[in-house]
């Protein structure tokens, strides 16, 4: 691994960066292939999503030591030896709601592996949960960015709030020689922008290049989704998705980049697979907001230039937004789920009758859901009103109900159990109780930079040192 002399180095003309993770629960195999066969200097791991922050906050509420992704040590055990061997630095936002805990876990793995000199950097300051009163007193309105609703409508139920940080703190950690950088809620694409800035000598007012970095980061942050996974074209021809190659980019100093994947892996990298990812989770493509820049996704040019290689060029950017994005999570009840499978004939009709019976059974048991959703899986759960009528061979009834309390949500699936003997005929197939599960609403808002950025800290220290 690179020794800790990285603070003084000359910009290079290009840097190769790989993607190692697309979500919490992803396999480490993709990252291992990138480390072994990707010829990269950096691997960036995006473990977070809005849903993931909610999951990690639930973990932290159960255990103050938790709140980072539990598989982080698994990734580190597999990646640290390879990274050291090949001089690869690792950047991850797996810290989630507890980056300090995550960094401690990384240091523990490093010590286990006899790598006490591994320098671990950690970025904090994104977690605003304990500062909310101070921030609102300082003038942060935190209105819902979608609906305009006032924050007071959910304030008493808020269990976490985080701001999306940009690449700068990671760049600082790299400049201070970190071999591994652990963060909380840094924007997905910014994990990838940081090593580009660090290596290529870019400055943050070089909007087109920073925007190019954001585009490449955006393309890579969902691992196999850019390289043939979830591809809606001729998916049946995409080879070996069991070992899909995770994205690797060669970013050049001028902001153009080649997007490819490690040799010998499955999947496909073409304009057709890459363009789907370009617009994934994008709102206004002319104005993609990142903490460091506003990228114009309509300026992106994609060209097939070699097998499994796409040239990404032409990206234009504009000055960064005035504010940072913030999301807060608030408690919004508990969900319980009852599921029953029915077979032909009249499979759908039986499921709908059973749903009516469950409704009455719940009422008689004293359960009054705040809301109930009936889905007939196999008929309409995914396409709703657009699904055509059909005489299905088998369906699964799924009744999900929301309650004020965990106790009610736990009791709800049990009221459906008598239908195994007492309901419509020919029950079978997938089924069973689900929940109780805490429901968290996500509250998107904007917050002034000056309320967040002074609180951002970067700490870099060897694994062997007392933590």
């Amino acid at each position: 691994m690179a020794t800790s002399d990285a603070s003084t180095h000359d910009p290079v003309t290009s840097v190769r960066i790989g993607a190692g993770q697309g979500f919490y629960g992803d396999t480490a195999d993709g990252a291992v292939d990138v480390a072994r066969h990707g010829d990269v200097r950096y691997i960036c791991f995006d473990a977070l999503a809005e849903l993931t922050m909610a999951i990690l906050q639930k973990d932290r509420m159960r255990n103050p030591e938790g709140g980072y992704t539990r598989d982080l040590p698994v990734f580190m055990r597999r990646l640290l030896p390879l990274a050291r061997e090949s001089g690869i630095r690792l950047i991850t936002n797996a810290g989630g709601m507890n980056p300090l805990g995550a960094a401690a876990a990384v240091r523990a793995v490093a010590r286990e592996l006899g790598m006490g000199d591994l320098r671990v950097g950690v970025v904090t300051g994104d977690d605003l949960t304990s500062r909310l009163d101070e921030l609102t007193a300082a003038g942060a309105a935190l209105r819902n960015a979608d609906t305009g609703e006032a924050f007071e409508t959910v304030r008493s139920r808020v269990v976490f709030a985080v701001a999306y940080l940009g690449a700068a703190p990671i760049v600082e950690a790299l400049a201070r020689g970190a071999d591994v950088v652990v963060t909380g809620r840094v924007a997905d694409a910014s994990l990838f922008v940081a090593p580009m800035v660090h290596e290529l000598g870019w400055t943050f007012d070089d909007y087109d290049r920073i925007a190019a970095g954001v585009v490449l980061g955006h393309l890579m942050e969902c691992s196999g989704q850019a390289t043939g996974g979830n591809y809606s074209g001729d998916w049946w021809n995409v080879p070996d998705l069991d070992r899909v190659g995770y994205p690797v980019c060669e970013m050049r100093a001028d902001g153009s980049a080649l997007l490819t994947k490690p040799a010998g892996t499955g999947g496909r990298v073409t304009v057709d697979t890459v363009k789907e990812q370009l617009l994934y989770e994008v709102l206004d493509p002319r104005s993609y907001l990142n903490p460091d820049v506003v990228a114009d996704f309509t300026s992106v040019r994609l060209d097939d230039v070699a097998p499994d290689t796409v040239l990404v060029s032409g990206v234009r950017g504009a000055p960064r937004p005035q504010t940072l994005k913030l999301i807060a999570g608030y408690l919004d009840g508990w969900m319980g789920t009852a599921m029953l499978g029915y077979s032909w004939p009249d499979a759908e009709a039986k499921a709908r009758r059973a749903a009516e019976l469950i409704d009455r059974l719940a009422h008689r048991a004293g359960l009054e859901p705040l809301e109930t959703l009936v889905e007939v899986v196999g008929i309409d759960s995914l396409h709703g009103d657009a699904a055509p009528p059909q005489d299905a061979n088998e369906v699964t009834l799924r009744v999900a109900a929301r309650f004020a309390t965990e106790e009610e949500a736990a009791r709800f699936p049990r009221v459906a159990m008598p239908l195994a003997l007492n309901g419509p005929p020919f029950i079978g197939g997938a089924g069973g109780p689900g929940g109780p599960r805490a429901l968290l609403g996500v509250w998107p808002a904007a917050i002034a930079r000056e309320l967040v950025e002074p609180g951002v800290t970067v700490d870099v220290r060897p694994a062997g040192a007392a933590s």
Binding site: D272, Q277, L279, L283, F297, L302, A306, I327, V442, P444
Partner: protein, 139 residues
């Protein structure tokens, strides 16, 4: 002469979530078909097509560099992924829902689509395991 085509037979799509918003990107295979999509796949039609799933407005953005229309569906995920009661809380299947739509196109717009209508514009590189165009037909 006009023809009715189903988007699933000619287009690509991908969908994702942002809070209670979902986006659905629809990709046209040719320039002519992109123009047909601009004409036919309006925000009002998409709003109607999604029915009860979408409680708010639908925005449409044009992305000509990748021949795409990007639809943003408001109040479309039952309160958002961690709050939703649905079995697809992230709206991952919304792309396929949009591909169910049928539109009217003329013969000129169908030009260059290939005889099975379904083959997206292929890569210029890579292995050719099946058939002359390197692709096997839809299974």
């Amino acid at each position: 002469m006009s023809a009715r085509v189903r988007l699933a037979d000619i287009a690509q799509a991908r969908s994702g979530d942002k809070g209670d918003l979902a986006n659905v990107a629809l990709f046209a295979p040719t320039d002519a078909m992109y123009e047909a999509f601009r004409r036919e796949v309006t925000r009002d039609r998409v709003r109607q097509h999604f029915g009860r799933f979408v409680k708010g407005e639908v925005d449409r953005y044009e992305v000509p560099n990748v021949r795409a229309l990007n639809f943003v569906l408001h109040q479309a995920l039952d309160g958002g992924a961690a709050r939703s009661l649905r079995s697809d809380p992230l709206g991952k299947s919304y792309g396929s829902l949009l591909l169910r739509m049928e539109i009217d196109v003329d013969e000129g717009e169908l030009a260059g689509m290939g005889k099975d209508l379904g083959a997206p514009s292929g890569p210029k590189f890579g292995p050719a395991p099946h058939g002359a165009d390197g692709r096997s037909p839809r299974p």
